[in-house]
Symmetry: none
Subunit: 242 residues, 2 copies
């Protein structure tokens, strides 16, 4: 399974040079492997040959219609497709989704938003892949008798008590559990929870950690599940899969 951005290949199809460069550098900065194209010719072959995982497709390409391209791609491939549409193309966007695109953003878009959508989509794609093999999350995460259902965002205690986690706490816990034994910096955690950078005086991660610890019954002065790495961040120390 592809776990790091560097394993993931993103193809940006956009005719306008400025927009394209912006996207390319943005995704490169995020660590992805990025290719570009200014038209949709031979897109299918290219995707297959270069094993592209995700296509960002400008819907208003000169020549070929973006919707047509979408359906052609989807007919032969399960590559991720995110459409980039203009403000007035509401109907194209909706039909685009019906034709098999996975998501869309509207121009002018916030690159950050696009990055988040891309991440979400990649996560959905790869977690769906591995859903059956036991290596990943057949029906969620489990650790030390606890269970976390990512579908319904619910936490079940060893005693069977269920609780719905707020969005932020859920994502934080999910991120931690996904990287057991690894110290995650506040910056990394912030990135996973929201789409925001961490600034030196931001204590919101700490507060969320505290709330999670309480819900997990984890005594902060002797935590068993979420350990503090002083000066570095936090680390999940539970045994996953139990």
């Amino acid at each position: 399974m592809k776990t790091t951005p560097a394993d993931i290949h993103i193809l940006i199809v956009e005719d306008d040079l400025a927009s394209r460069s912006l996207l390319v550098s943005y995704f490169e900065n995020a660590g992805y492997r990025v290719s570009e194209a200014d038209n949709a010719d031979h897109l299918g072959e290219r995707i297959e040959r270069d094993s592209v995982d995700l296509v960002l497709l400008d819907i208003s390409l000169p020549g070929k219609d973006g919707l047509t391209v979408t359906r052609e791609l989807r007919a032969n491939s399960s590559v991720g497709i995110i459409l980039v549409t203009s403000k007035g193309d509401e109907i194209d966007r909706i039909v685009g989704l019906e034709l098999g695109a996975d998501d869309y953003v509207t121009k002018p878009f916030n690159p950050r938003e696009l990055l988040v959508r891309a991440k979400n989509l990649l996560w959905r794609m790869f977690s769906a892949d591995t859903a059956g093999n036991g290596n990943s999350n057949p029906s969620g995460y489990s650790f030390e008798g606890w269970q976390l259902d990512p579908h319904k965002r619910q936490l079940t205690s060893p005693g069977g008590q269920q609780e719905r986690l707020p969005e932020g706490e859920f994502k934080l816990l999910q991120t931690l559990v996904n990287h057991p034994g690894q110290v995650l910096s506040r910056d990394q955690l912030m990135d996973a929870i929201h789409d925001r950078e961490w600034t030196p005086n931001d204590r919101s991660v700490d507060v969320l950690i505290g709330r999670l610890r309480r819900k997990l019954g984890d005594n902060p002065s002797n935590p068993q599940l979420i350990l503090t790495a002083h000066g570095a961040g936090y680390m999940f120390a539970g045994n996953t899969g139990t």
Copy 2:
């Protein structure tokens, strides 16, 4: 297989000259081969002779009733049929689909919408040859024992109780169910419900979500079907196809 617009022949049957001209020029601009008629006489012969692929049929023609025409056409031909109905003709619309029309638009319609629906239909027609199934939804959507009939916009509970959903609620639910596990922003949902943008103080999506939740018996403080992604949007969490 016909892949370019120029290969495709569209016949527009509409008695009002202004509407007809509008449609003709719109589809010609999109690159299709277009013919026109102001009545439904000899429609079947004409379709066969000129190898028409798609008919846009105004349902309220003088003389022959559009529904009758639909039935006659469908009896002898697999030509694509898109009905153009007036606002109030809900019954006609439903009956039309049951008689074999492939899709409909409601007057006054956005020409762009009609074009997109036409593209969509043509794609379904030509890919049905090869693929066999398409991703069309023969008998609607189903999830967790609920059923949603897109033609009648009817929601059937696991217990068998039926209810007709208003347009907005229906589209919202349909969109959610079509993207299970994916967080959809208010902006996206707004797109799907109307062709409108979402503005920061617009709460109409939230209100619709609330109504749907009530109809689905989904407790908002512990929802199982429509989950809130705080700061992001909503997500459908039911199991589809059950």
